[in-house]
Symmetry: C2
Subunit: 421 residues, 2 copies
């Protein structure tokens, strides 16, 4: 099979289908989602069998246990997929909304209409649930989509693709509205990210090496997530209970998530009081503290203490490890953050209103918080209803990306025969 030609055909079909997807009314798109949920429920047994085929092959190929865990499609995972689709049905339709319609002195009325992006390419790991989540969000937002999941999940993804197509056709939508790349050849990714004539945006979900490759090669724009080096700054005017609660929760609620705190900054004025208290909490979880000299002096005797090096300021541990630094004041904290942060999420703990408002304004990250745990940086927590990913980019979508991130605004003009003078 000629991969480039195969992908080109996929692209052409997606572009064609995108028009019908964009035109479809709310009820039709919701009907497709409901039919897909019903089909998955009906064929749950066959899906598990296809997944078992993938699991057996992956185990034989020596896939790491953590990867096998992501690949597995349990009954519970299937139920969650179905529930996810039904939740997407319940979300308001973002498409067609006209905002800001205003008369101009010439007599024309100008506004903006929310419309689908067109064709969305999604590249993700071997997690079959992403196939259904991503297809659901793209259908709801009136987009056509090309899904390229990890090769280990190919049998399950093919089975899911059939059910998605069944749902689309059942609702009178084109089956090509959602296409799964049926080859595991890595050249398919190279083709997908370099056909801007057919693909309007790529959403990569995966590790840093995938993103780095795409950034170097892609000519299609991306909504991408790189890493989460999140900071909490305990200000001189921090409330002690809030400081302890948030600094503990932001690190220990879950270690492996991108909105987990990786560096704690503490104002010099409160460091001697707050750090020993915090250390008692972290000790219950054996959190390793990598401290700068000033923090280390305060923390002397902590059983899991290490000296921080510059590398620690730019490391996403995703583990029970925390970099700790004492700073003179908020300005030094913001300097540190703006230098080392991956621009994901940062929080200040303070009772000082002016400090809080300055931090919100001046810290250049996709989420900036006052007196809340960084763990809240999440599409569901923010009320987006669903999340296709988190964007570290500044253009288009920033932070958690929901349905709106899969749309754009075009200008609409209502005239009455007006011409330019």
């Amino acid at each position: 099979m000629d991969i480039k030609q195969y992908m080109e055909e996929l692209g052409q079909r997606a572009r064609k289908a995108s028009r019908a997807m964009a035109r479809a009314d709310t009820a039709t798109r919701n009907r497709a989602l409901t039919l897909i949920a019903d089909a998955i429920e009906r064929d749950a047994y066959a899906l598990r069998a296809a997944n078992q085929q993938d699991m057996d092959a992956a185990a034989a190929n020596g896939l790491a246990p953590a990867m096998l865990d992501r690949l597995a499609l349990s009954d519970k995972a299937i139920a969650t997929m179905i529930e996810g689709l039904r939740q997407i049905v319940a979300l308001p339709d973002p498409i067609g909304e006209i905002s800001g319609l205003k008369f101009r002195p010439t007599g024309i009325q100008v506004g903006q209409m929310r419309v689908p992006l067109g064709v969305i390419g999604i590249i993700y790991e071997s997690r079959p649930n992403v196939t259904v989540d991503a297809a659901g969000l793209c259908i709801k937002s009136g987009n056509a989509t090309i899904l390229r999941g990890g090769s280990e999940a190919i049998h399950c993804n093919r089975a899911l693709a059939r059910l998605v197509k069944e749902g689309l056709e059942g609702a009178g939508l084109p089956a090509d509205g959602v296409q799964v790349v049926e080859t595991t050849d890595r050249a398919a990714v190279g083709a997908l990210i370099t056909m801007p004539q057919y693909v309007d945006v790529i959403v990569p979900r995966g590790g840093k090496s995938l993103i780095a490759r795409l950034m170097a090669e892609a000519t299609v724009p991306m909504i991408k997530h790189l890493d989460g080096i999140c900071h909490v700054y305990l200000d001189a005017k921090a409330d002690m209970k809030k400081a302890l609660d948030i600094a503990f929760n932001a690190k220990c609620h879950r270690y492996g998530t991108c909105n987990t705190m990786e560096t704690l900054l503490v104002a010099r004025a409160i460091a001697p009081a707050v750090l020993p208290e915090l250390a008692r909490l972290y000790a219950t979880r054996q959190v390793e503290l990598r401290a700068d000299p000033e923090a280390a002096a305060i923390l002397r005797g902590y059983p899991h203490l290490a000296a921080a090096t510059e590398e620690d300021w730019s490391t996403e541990y995703l583990a029970p490890i925390l970099a700790v630094k004492v700073v003179a004041d908020m300005d030094e904290a913001m300097d540190h953050i703006n230098t080392w942060s991956s621009k994901h999420t940062e929080a200040i703990v303070t009772e000082d209103h002016t400090a809080a408002m300055r931090f919100l304004r001046e810290v250049d990250s996709s989420s900036v918080m006052v007196n809340a745990s960084t763990r809240f940086a999440d599409g569901f927590e923010y009320g987006l209803g669903a999340e296709i990913g988190i964007s570290n980019d500044k253009l288009h979508a920033r932070g958690p990306v929901g349905l709106e991130g899969l749309t754009s605004l075009k200008y609409v003009v209502f005239g009455h025969g007006e011409i330019r003078q």
Copy 2:
């Protein structure tokens, strides 16, 4: 001079300055704009002298008259630049606005704050007025900027850069908030578009060949404008007067602009009535009509008639030439548009409400109009106050791009000590 290193230093200084630019309050940014306007007014004579140096060199190098015309900085052009800056001062500040602040069930309050993009690179032709317009918009929107104008304007741009820096410093802002690339080496452009660590977005203003080069080479995202192949569709239910007014104005108001109509589509039902009337109007301007066979049959005898080839459907004439095609109905018109349009601006003329609303929804262009001339697709006409360019892209900014297009939204969270459960 090592161009790469020179550009790298420019980038580092811009990134550093961008923090102070973003932090500056409304009054400070407006003060800088006013000081720049005052300085240009004061030094108008010196600016004209610098421009004359450029004009003499360009004339000696045999620059085309149209290019010389763009390069010239007349007294009137200087007055327009000054007036433009004062208008930007009067625009509302887009920065810092918080929208959609809502309480979530967890107790946190989530909203979005409008913030500068950071560092904006602008690449443009040899038009010194763009140096001031672009600097003004970037200062107002709290961004740092690197300006790379056409090499023929280098003396004038250097003189303008000094005045801009004087204004920034006078307001207490960093002089590096606006930097003009002081070399005419084309390698500077290659460096500028491949340093995403220092530049957040590139706005190219220039011809298709520049854009094509940037699309192939840039690793920094772009807000770009390609071409304007705009359509007017005269529906079967069009009002005759509106049809004639709009079809004439969209073509003949100005030939060289990107929102000028290049293809006219006419519903079969009204073609025999409307085309001869239109031809009488176009004849007064000697507009060449490139007609498909059906339109040609109706237009037989028109003095400037030619047969349309497929190439005409994708040509931006920027001249008194118009492609004309008879279509069966609106569906055929929309098929033609969605196939051949550059997705800039399209208009329908109709009294049929359902047709009008379908056209608005289903045509995938940055501006879609009912009963208005395509010539209205413009930042000033839309009420944006100022325009950095028009975007053919779907991501981030689409259509005319004003101050808001130079900003992004970050999430802000107001908490009271909340942690994730």
